[in-house]
Structure formats: C-alpha cells, structure tokens
C-alpha cells in the first residue's frame, strides 16, 4: 500500500492491518516517523506533486521489493500540515527473514529523504523555513549504491 495521506495517520492501526495482510511472512519491521517539537516549530507543512510524488514512492517500493525479496511493503506519507507529536511517515516491510525486512525499511526511509518529491517547510507561527536533505541524508542514501 503506497499512500499520500492528507489527514492524520494511525501507525498502530496501519501495522495491524499490514500484519493481517502479510500472511506467511516470518518477519515484519515497521518504522514510524514523528514530528519533533524542535525550537518552537508549530507545524511542518509537506509539499508534494500529486502524481510525481506517488510515482516516485511506487518506484522506491518496487526497487525495495525486488532488492530485498519482500512479501509486502507499505509506505504511508503525510502531506499538508503535520503538528509536533503527530506521525509523518509509516513504513512497514514483510519478508521471510528479519534482515531483509530491517534493510528494506532502512532503504525506503533513506530514499524518502533524498529521492522522492516531498518538501518540508518548518513553520513557527508566521515564519517559514524550507528544509533540504542534509549531507548526512545523502551519505545514508549513498550507502545503498555500493554492493
């Protein structure tokens, strides 16, 4: 399930549904990203392109499924306004064995930060600051390029 969610998401419910659907998997790993209340951030606003963003997420999902031999994969990413404490992203991978599931979630998160058209704007009251991927995010993503 690859979803761009304009409304709040519920990771425990998403994981429960994913677990039910991923029959036969020996390992399920999930990650939930939560907006931090850094330096007075009142909310994050997530910009996206309704077709390009979803297509890029589907591409990441297809690459991950092939590379790690997954039974199933779910990526749910918020768009629009997300308040501190709210989930912004949910990724779950189901595989036969644990290492593939852990690696797939890691891989998908690294790609989400560097290769999918999503743009974060930190809002502090009336102030806006657009965030760009950090050098560390690119270094993390580049690890997957080497064999």
């Amino acid at each position: 399930m690859i979803v761009l969610a304009p409304d709040p998401i519920d990771p425990p419910a998403l994981l429960a549904a994913f677990t039910r659907a991923a029959g036969g998997a020996g390992a399920i790993v999930s990650f939930s990203g939560i907006v931090r209340a850094d330096d007075g951030v009142t909310d994050l606003w997530l910009d996206h392109h309704e077709r390009l963003t979803l297509a890029a997420m589907e591409e990441v999902s297809a690459v991950a499924a092939r590379r790690f031999g997954l039974v199933d994969l779910s990526i749910v990413h918020r768009v629009g306004s997300v308040a501190p404490g709210e989930p912004i992203v949910f990724v779950a991978a189901a595989a036969t064995h644990r290492r593939a599931a852990f690696d797939a979630v890691h891989f998908v998160m690294d790609r989400l930060k560097t290769a999918v058209p999503l743009w974060k704007c930190e809002r502090r009251g009336q102030d806006r600051k657009w965030v760009e991927a950090r050098p560390q995010d690119h270094a993390d993503a580049a690890r997957w390029e080497s064999p």
Binding site: H49, R51, I88, K113, A115, P117, W119, R128, E132, A133
Partner: protein, 75 residues
C-alpha cells in the same frame, strides 16, 4: 508552470506566461525565467515535463505542465 518547495515562496505556486518564440526547450525556458528568478538557475533545481523528471532538455511545445523541483526533504 508549477513551482514546489522553497520555489513556491520564491516564484509562486503557479505561473502562466506567454513564452517568447525563441524559447523552444526546457533549458531555454529555465534560462528565460531565470532572468527574473535566478534561483531557478541552480543546478539542484530539476524540471519535470508532463509528469516525467527530465535528465536532458525537451521541447516545450504542446506541454501540459512544466514543474520546477528543488532538492527534496521527505521522510
């Protein structure tokens, strides 16, 4: 044309313009818009034409949508 991320604030979310006749491909369009909006000239800003992210200039004739995409920050 559509602008995303920080380009929304720098240029605007959407722009409809008459393009001069000698601007025929996406890089010429970028250069032409860049006179007024130099931030579009950054090498890190990618372009998409009709939902395809470009790696080389493409003719703009008949395009339905041209998007300017700054570096991303999801996750």
């Amino acid at each position: 044309m559509r602008f995303f991320g920080r380009l929304r604030d720098a240029v605007g979310g959407e722009l409809e313009v008459e393009v001069p006749g000698d601007v025929i491909d996406t890089e010429q369009l970028r250069a032409w818009l860049g006179v007024q909006h130099p931030t579009l000239l950054d090498a890190s800003v990618k372009m998409a034409l009709d939902d395809r992210i470009l790696v080389a200039p493409q003719p703009i004739e008949g395009a339905r949508e041209i998007a300017f995409l700054p570096p991303v920050s999801g996750g």
